[in-house]
């Protein structure tokens, strides 16, 4: 009897310990999933966690994120850990089809086997299964031929895993592991080549992401964030803003909301440590960084008191006054507590690429952090737009803001605004691929006709 009790007790202890180990593993997986921001793509607005359905605008078309809950019918419930790893790090689905690199598997390739194991445990046991499949992705021909990704992967995909650099500190290595892997920063911040591959020699020097521009985040003091201290970057990642310098919008705001603010302080510090060592391998211009440009300015003295119908003062100044100044101040100075940021000394108005300014006006800015909700309304065609501004108005307004609060060399045309409104520049890749296929088909047809004619002649 005693022996039975002993066995039962040790079994209980072992399973209790196993349970505890399981829980710890799932928690670790959950943390890694947060760091990887899986939810940004795989959870639709008002949708169930990880049930997919989010339509991701890419330069080659709309890609719909899949259901990665452990549902056997609609999700990844039947995946083995091997298959999970292949999807995550090699871009191969369980049925053998390739994933598009909208899923940043090129980054997640960095994950160690250990971390993949934890992620697998989380997605299998820590996530609620949802038995509803989202719609399929249909990219235009020939990009809908997923096997074309095989060639692409052969050219651009790294082998899985991470090799630490022994010459660097543990913090640096952890930072690099996260940056190259889970937080996949280069996916947005590294410019891409014609075949949409990341250009390694221009790593982190900035890239267009749909309507937004992910800026240069190298440690260069002029082109990047070199003048930030490590604590500055930590603060930015935690809160989504750095007073008097920058604030996160678009996809970065989401990344802060869902991912960066939930990381440990140590991990944020590691990321900052690593990023502090990343050089800008392009040849950046000299001059001021994007954080110190512009100054307080107001033109109200020209038109205040004149009726709206008169044309006193510049149109840009009047647009600014009626639409922006209430939060951003009559001189662009923001509020005293800097909650509504100043528009000068603000990277959003100082980039050479005005996408972020235009996109902020068109789409607004939304972030949810512990500090509170940040909400700038949109000014596009949305039902909740504070004012529906057309392309010409936004071009005029942006131009005025850039001239006085930021980079006066940058111009904005209505056509640029229209492009941002549409979701950003399209890639010629689709058209050219289709043209290429079309040309190829014409060649085949021409050859066929030539062969038929020759056959006829022979007869």
């Amino acid at each position: 009897m005693r022996k039975l009790k002993q066995i039962a007790l040790s079994l209980a202890l072992v399973s209790g310990a196993a349970q505890a180990a399981d829980d710890a593993l799932i928690k670790k997986g959950e943390y890694l999933a947060t760091a990887s921001d899986c939810t940004a793509c795989h959870t639709a607005e008002h949708g169930q966690p990880f049930a997919g359905g989010n339509a991701i605008a890419s330069p080659v078309g709309t890609i719909i994120a899949t259901n990665i809950t452990p549902s056997a019918s609609a999700g990844i419930g039947r995946y083995t850990e091997q298959q999970f790893s292949a999807a995550l790090r090699q871009g191969v689905r369980a049925d053998g089809a390739r994933l598009y690199p909208a899923m940043p598997y090129t980054a997640y390739a960095t994950f160690t086997d250990e971390d993949v194991h934890a992620l697998y445990a989380y997605f299998m046991s820590g996530v609620k299964p949802v038995d509803k499949a989202p719609p399929q992705t249909h990219l235009p021909f020939p990009l809908n031929l997923r096997m074309s990704m095989m060639v692409w992967n052969a050219l651009f995909l790294n082998a899985p895993g991470y090799t630490p650099n022994p010459a660097q500190s543990a913090g640096w290595n952890r930072g690099r592991y996260l940056v190259d892997g889970a937080t996949h920063c280069s996916t947005c911040h590294t410019p891409r080549g014609f075949l949409m591959q990341e250009k390694q020699d221009a790593a982190f020097t900035g890239a267009q992401v749909g309507p937004w521009f992910a800026p240069n985040i190298t440690a260069n003091r002029v082109s990047g964030i070199g003048e930030w201290s490590q604590q500055d970057l930590i603060t930015y990642l935690k809160t989504g803003r750095l007073a008097g310098k920058a604030q996160a919008a678009g996809s970065m705001a989401e990344a802060v909301t869902h991912s960066f603010q939930h990381l440990s302080e140590a991990d944020r510090a590691a990321i900052a440590e690593y990023m502090g060592s990343v050089e800008d391998r392009q040849s950046p211009a000299s001059g001021t960084s994007r954080f110190g440009q512009g100054s307080a300015f107001s033109q109200v003295n020209a038109f205040r008191g004149e009726p709206r119908s008169s044309s006193a003062g510049e149109e840009g100044a009047r647009l600014f006054s009626g639409n922006c100044a209430s939060c951003h101040g009559s001189s662009g100075q923001g509020t005293q507590d800097a909650f509504y940021p100043s528009l000068f000394h603000n990277s959003a108005t100082a980039e050479n690429n005005p996408s972020n300014l235009i996109a902020a006006i068109l789409f607004g800015v939304q972030r949810h952090t512990e500090e509170g909700d940040v909400y700038m309304p949109p000014f596009g065609a949305q039902p909740n737009a504070l004012n529906h501004l057309d392309d010409q108005q936004i071009a005029t307004l942006s131009g005025w803001i850039l001239q006085h609060y930021g980079n006066a060399e940058v111009n904005v045309s209505p056509a640029q605004v229209a492009e941002i409104r549409r979701g950003g520049p399209a890639s010629p890749l689709v058209m050219l691929a289709q043209a290429g296929v079309g040309a190829g088909a014409l060649v085949v047809i021409a050859l066929l006709i030539a062969w038929l004619i020759r056959r006829k002649r022979r007869r």
Binding site: S298, N301, S330, S331, G372
Partner: protein, 179 residues
């Protein structure tokens, strides 16, 4: 001397300085007109320089030249003897070696000249020339009444802080903010 936050909008940044009336008019003229932004009214009145000199004596705060130009245009439309009255007031100020309004205001005789002085002060503080709904307005954000209280309350229609962040203890009436 100037409050570092909530700086007034793009006014010409002339610091409040001692005005030496005997020789300063021409010098000041050069400084002022060259610093006017390009959108300033095309026809700058001849009275602009004396008007701004007098304004800065009557109102001892940073004043915006473009606002002044607009106020002057309204005063000129209203007063046929404006030039004469401006000169009279400047003469009184000079005679008292005035640096601030208290130095010479008691010496201004009652009548049209004192009325003009009061009207100029009224204009800078309220952004209009009369306390009536049909007055022409030429300033709001730059009307001095708001500057006097900008440390504690916002100019209406401009946000004071991030959401729900406006609790604060009662600010004492004195000292008055510098501007």
């Amino acid at each position: 001397m100037r409050h570092s936050h909530n700086l007034p909008p793009g006014e010409v940044h002339l610091s409040r300085r001692q005005i030496l009336l005997s020789g300063a008019v021409i010098m000041a003229g050069g400084l002022l007109t060259s610093a006017l932004p390009r959108f300033a009214f095309a026809d700058s009145s001849l009275q602009f320089i004396p008007f701004m000199l007098l304004s800065r004596l009557l109102v001892n705060h940073d004043l915006d030249d473009v606002v002044g130009q607009r106020m002057l245009a309204l005063l000129e439309a209203e007063h046929s003897s404006l030039a004469e009255h401006l000169n009279q007031l400047l003469a009184i100020a000079r005679a008292h070696k005035a640096e601030v309004v208290e130095d010479f205001f008691p010496a201004i005789p009652a009548g049209p000249v004192q009325d003009l002085a009061r009207q100029i002060i009224f204009g800078w503080y309220t952004g209009s020339l009369t306390p009536t709904r049909s007055a022409k307005s030429f300033a709001f954000e730059q009307a001095l009444t708001w500057r006097l209280t900008q440390d504690t309350i916002t100019i209406p229609s401009y946000g004071i802080s991030g959401p729900n962040n406006w609790q604060r203890a009662n600010t004492p009436v004195l000292p008055i903010p510098q501007f």
